[in-house]
């Protein structure tokens, strides 16, 4: 009997449907008591075949398709794609187009990081953080709507420039809103960094070591939180990032706390960049005409909020790409759970999985399988476990 129990190790199934954040991923955690001993991730429950569809569309149509890969990163994907096509066509863009792209992309980073901070707070039972972060995410979305017509899925880049210009009357509004965002982010950052419970709850949790970060080739805040100082905006500059003065935020610890700090400080860096970009915004057109795409191949990359977005385009000289490969940042960040989750408590897994911001989400159901007994939990129980741990820590302090 005992032997059988050993063979049938308890498996906690998380997923496969996560309706809160519209992503479908299926995590199977093998546990020994409270400790996670193995993790298996299954994806592709909602595969949309975007790379295949892209081969049937014309070069001008593809940006609208790839902006729908992710609603939150809907500026970075089309940007990486058009940069690949522009590299192929060898066009030089008007200065103003580069600045407009920078502004849209940095606003996207602010709203995405705030979304994450809010959700992370929610997961560990800090709903005040959730409310504050999402409250001050709104003015960012309003700005994006005013400039592009949409809160998400901006559809503002095209091969050869941008579709819409930033109206002159919006500029003072951006600067005004940036002051507000900076003040509130500063407050939120200090509140998070000063809170002893958050320290106790997130420090040393879900650590991804520097070596594992290299082996799993993670990108974005996940890499920068583990001491890997990479950022495409600095390493392979695109848009107007070369003209701006800013810093790459790096933390060495690799735990959830480090990733949170990186994101919070990156919001401040983005505010800094945006101020410069808005003040420097050159006059002139925002697009140039691209007549034809010659045969060949090219790559484009952009730093999305979650990490590096990579696009590869091959052309045969026709009006459609013959191959278009997309690599979204979560594709390399998610497998790193094998390194960061093993040895963790179940109560910590929620926040560890959320820490790479994998468009991961809410867990619809959770089944604890132990021998022949099967207990079905739901998302509420997993949240409860995570929050109970926070309140335990709070009482002990």
């Amino acid at each position: 009997m005992k032997k059988q129990v050993l063979q049938n190790k308890p498996v906690i199934a998380v997923g496969p449907f996560h309706p809160l954040q519209e992503e479908m991923e299926f995590y199977q955690l093998t546990v020994d008591g409270e400790i996670v001993t193995d993790i298996d991730v299954r994806i592709s429950y909602n595969h949309r075949g975007i790379e295949g569809i892209s081969e049937t569309l014309q070069y001008d149509q593809v940006p609208f398709l790839v902006s729908r890969i992710c609603g939150i990163c809907s500026a970075s994907h089309p940007l990486a794609y058009v940069q690949a096509v522009e590299e192929l066509a060898g066009v030089k863009l008007p200065e103003r187009a580069l600045y407009v792209r920078t502004i849209i992309n940095e606003l996207e980073r602010i709203h995405s990081h705030m979304l994450w901070v809010g959700l992370a707070g929610h997961f560990i039972g800090y709903d005040t953080v959730f409310m504050w972060a999402w409250r001050y995410r709104e003015p960012v979305l309003d700005l994006l709507e005013e400039m592009t017509g949409n809160r998400n899925n901006y559809g503002n880049v095209k091969v050869g420039g941008c579709r819409e210009d930033i109206p002159d009357e919006t500029v003072p509004k951006i600067l005004r809103d940036l002051d507000l965002i900076e003040k509130k982010t500063d407050m939120l950052t200090k509140a998070v960094l000063d809170d002893p419970v958050i320290h106790a709850r997130l420090k040393g949790v879900g650590t991804l070591t520097n070596e594992d970060a290299v082996r799993y080739a993670v990108t974005g805040p996940t890499a920068r939180g583990s001491g890997v100082a990479i950022d495409v905006r600095r390493d392979d500059p695109y848009a107007a990032y070369d003209d701006l003065d800013w810093n790459v935020i790096v933390r060495e610890e690799g735990d959830v706390f480090a990733k949170a700090v990186v994101r919070l400080l990156e919001i401040m860096e983005s505010v800094k960049m945006l101020r410069q970009a808005v003040r420097k915004l050159p006059k002139g057109p925002v697009a140039t005409e691209v007549k034809s795409i010659p045969p060949g191949e090219a790559v484009g990359r952009a730093e999305a909020p979650r990490g590096e977005t990579f696009h590869y385009v091959r052309s045969d000289g026709g009006n459609r790409p013959i191959r278009h490969k997309v690599r979204a940042p979560s594709y390399v960040n998610v497998p790193s759970f094998k390194a960061s989750c093993i040895g963790q408590h179940i109560a910590d897994v929620t926040i560890t999985l959320a820490a790479v911001d994998p468009c991961y989400s809410c867990t619809e159901r959770l089944a604890v399988v132990d021998g022949h007994d099967k207990i079905i939990h739901d998302w509420r129980n997993l949240l409860k476990l995570s929050r109970e741990k926070t309140s335990r820590i709070r009482e002990e302090l």
Binding site: R215, V232, D236, A298, P335
Partner: protein, 166 residues
Amino acid sequence: MSDFLRLKERRIMNHQQLIAELAGIKDRLTGIDETSNKRLYLNCKAEDSFAVNKFIFEHVGARFLIATGIDAEDCFEVLYHFSYDQTGCVITVKARIDDRQKPSIESISTFLPAAEWIEREIHDLFGIEIINHPDMRRLILSDDWPEGVHPLRKRVPAEAAQEKEK
């Protein structure tokens, strides 16, 4: 721990030094295309791709980005994209597979776990056999998808496609 994983001790090369460094695998390459000093394409045969990729990852110290499978009508290609972040150079290793009937290539996941998913994906979508892969389950295609139908191939076998219709 292997030396190449110690980021802090890595040698930082400029672009000329990077090109010079590639001499170490020169006899395994069939050509080098340099479209700009940020984009480098290394051509090789499928059987040499393992050695070339290992050299780029462990010796040059480039970061793995992703691999791209391509059905190029007369052959298959697997492109391994790396980023050398010190200069912002994207190094692409282009491995050409001439055998269209039984395409295969050696797995690089054995030394680079980041490639595990994409190799499974290439196996699903292009039907390229990945030799020595640690976990060859399907990643993209569902378990009831018919054998031998690979959606990103330019020509999907008619019979298999019909079977899927049913």
